[in-house]
């Protein structure tokens, strides 16, 4: 007999969901794995860091102002003697929170509009017209105008920090959903022609359950990828707004705000610009790499190769 004995089929017989395959593929992407580690590290440093490093970010020690890196202040202090490391942590919490929340809003909006316009032909024209209209708007100028106009009102009703947070998050959310909507619509249009949708329809599945049970799980991968990349865009946009002086109030640090404040001392203390800028860039870079890896891992044509 020349036949080689068959390889024993997968010893591991425990239930293995699609997500394990995704993880296996994700693991092979070095950059994505590294990005995930860096992002995790930044998130942990920013959330758990203040428990270890207990100096208040707003504590003013005027005698220690403008001091360089030392054991007491590893990143130095600013012009009012506030510890820069504590401010970086506090700023990171806000920046990452803004990124996650704005991403959630934009992905929710984009998915909703994309699924509805792909699934219901009658609404397609109107919703895609709306998407094109939003894509033609000059977004950064409009964001600036929106922040300028509504900052006062929202600050009065929710307090300066919460008001600005709500404003910035929703402004970024409603100006960045268009890409997701377009991608999701395309996927839904293609899915609608597939046999399993026809089968589901022929046994009388109502539209709502059709979307939730059959369509949504199948468009999850593009949504996840655009959600990951959305975090990066939201963080950059928030920092840009803060950098232009139209973000959070001055005593409320975010990475963009810290960078903006450090520019005034660029000649004397150039290293102060470095930390917040590096934090923003590293976060965005790691998130972009995660998105890249996720795109490959979620694509069944690439997976398992």
């Amino acid at each position: 007999m020349t036949d080689t004995p068959l390889e024993p089929v997968a010893k591991d017989t425990s239930a293995r969901s699609q997500w394990w395959d995704v993880w296996d593929q994700f693991k092979t992407h070095k950059g994505a794995l590294f990005g995930a580690a860096v992002f995790l590290f930044i998130v942990l440093a920013v959330t758990l860091g203040p428990l270890v490093w207990t100096i208040e970010p707003t504590f003013i020690d005027i005698r220690a102002r403008n001091s360089g890196p030392s054991l007491a202040h590893p990143f130095g202090t600013d012009q009012l003697g506030r510890d820069i490391m504590a401010r970086m942590m506090a700023g990171g919490q806000v920046s990452i929170a803004v990124g996650l929340t704005a991403m959630a809003i934009s992905v929710l909006l984009g998915t909703l509009i994309g699924v509805v316009s792909g699934f219901f032909r009658r609404l397609d024209g109107v919703l895609m017209g709306l998407t094109d209209l939003f894509l033609a708007l000059p977004l950064l100028p409009l964001l600036l105008v929106m922040v300028m106009l509504f900052r006062e009102t929202l600050s009065r009703s929710f307090g300066p920090e919460m008001g600005t947070f709500i404003l910035i998050v929703s402004a970024i959310g409603i100006t960045s959903w268009m890409q997701t909507a377009r991608i999701v619509r395309g996927e839904v249009l293609a899915l609608k022609e597939r046999e399993f949708v026809l089968a589901a329809r022929s046994i009388g599945t109502p539209s709502r359950r059709m979307i939730l049970r059959h369509i949504l799980p199948n468009v999850l991968s593009p949504i996840m990828v655009s959600a990951t990349l959305g975090i990066a865009t939201a963080i950059i946009t928030e920092s840009a707004l803060s950098f232009l002086g139209l973000g959070f109030p001055p005593d409320f640090p975010t990475w963009g705000r810290l960078l903006f404040d450090a520019i005034d001392y660029l000649q004397q203390y150039p290293e102060r610009v470095f930390w917040p800028g590096l934090a923003i860039s590293l976060t965005v870079l790691s998130v972009n790499y995660i998105g890249d890896g996720l795109r490959d891992a979620l694509d069944p044509r690439i997976r398992g190769r």
Binding site: L142, V145, T153, S239, L259, V273, F274
Partner: protein
């Protein structure tokens, strides 16, 4: 093709009207009062007269129509007058900026050269760098050049301009005093020395902006080349005995340029609008900086006009991209 262009042009009109209405309504909510910086000693009745003269108390739709008339009718007439020396527009009210107290378009005309020089040149440089990088990265896929290219463009994506710009200032203006960190608009180029100075002051902003353009375009160029390199016609060309140079630069490049050209066209509006931050860092007093100062100063006519001009550019470039796509790719026919 011509009918398609006309149809798209006609369709662009309602889009633009809607956009101008959206911008107007958004600005209409502004809490600021344009007379707030007038002296408090002005008696209330005079103040009221000033409000009437500016038309501030008129209903919103009248103010919108007035702005639309000024934008679409008066300003073009002024332009015609200026070109052929007639005086159609005599006595007509132009769009007046509240902070400069002079017509908005006069100020925009003053600012356009700086923006075009710095940002336009940066876009050009970015495109010229990105295309070769994309071609080589695709041809030598997974080589060290490709890996470095991927990494550099990832950095270009991730490092926001307000950080890369500041870093450039720290390295090339403070540590190594090679370039000035501030763009001097009053510089008159009349000899070699001032020309050199102009080049030097343009270097940093152009570098920052070009990095961003390069990052995006080189990735796109690479993907497009890779798409084409596996096609049958490439194998045929090689089988016919074409040199690699001809295969790559004539056959593949021409086909890969189709989507890239449209992407380049789509990026043009960002020359005007997207460079707001870079102009702010290097103190280039171009259009982006004009918009920022107008927003800070609550100068609503200026903000409205500038935002609308940006929108017109976006819509026009979208249209140009679509038409170009149809012209370049014979497989795509809109009619």
């Amino acid at each position: 093709m011509l009918t398609f262009t006309f149809r798209r042009l006609l369709l662009a009109i309602p889009t633009l009207v809607l956009i101008s209405l959206i911008i107007f309504l958004l600005l209409d909510l502004a809490p600021g009062d344009p007379l707030a910086n007038q002296p408090l000693s002005i008696p209330p009745e005079v103040r009221q007269k000033m409000r009437d003269a500016l038309g501030l108390d008129a209903p919103a739709y009248i103010r919108y129509l007035l702005w639309a008339k000024q934008f679409f009718w008066v300003e073009p007439l002024v332009f015609v007058d200026w070109v052929i020396g007639t005086n159609f527009s005599e006595g007509m009210q132009r769009i007046v900026s509240w902070q400069f107290r002079s017509p908005v378009f006069d100020i925009i005309i003053q600012r356009i050269p700086q923006t075009l020089w710095v940002v336009g040149l940066a876009y050009l440089v970015g495109v010229l760098i990105a295309l070769p990088i994309g071609i080589i990265s695709a041809y030598k896929q997974y080589s060290w050049f490709d890996q470095i290219g991927t990494f550099v463009s990832m950095i270009g994506f991730s490092v926001p301009p307000f950080f890369s710009g500041v870093l450039m200032i720290v390295f090339f203006a403070i540590m190594l005093p090679w370039f000035p960190s501030i763009y001097d608009t009053t510089l008159v180029v009349n000899d070699f020395e001032s020309f050199g100075q102009q080049i030097r002051q343009m270097t940093l902003p152009v570098m920052v902006l070009a990095l961003q353009t390069t990052a995006q375009l080189s990735r796109f160029m690479r993907a497009s080349m890779l798409d084409n390199l596996n096609h049958d016609y490439v194998r045929t060309a090689r089988a016919k005995g074409m040199t690699e140079k001809v295969v790559l630069l004539v056959h593949v490049l021409r086909n890969s340029m189709i989507p890239v050209v449209t992407v380049i066209a789509l990026g043009v509006p960002s020359i005007f609008g997207g460079a707001i931050i870079t102009e702010q860092i290097f103190k280039v007093n171009g259009l982006g900086q004009l918009l920022i100062t107008a927003i800070y100063a609550n100068d609503l006519p200026m903000v409205q006009t500038l935002a609308f001009i940006f929108a017109v550019l976006i819509v026009l470039c979208n249209l140009i991209a679509d038409v170009l796509y149809g012209l370049l790719d014979p497989r795509i026919r809109y009619d």
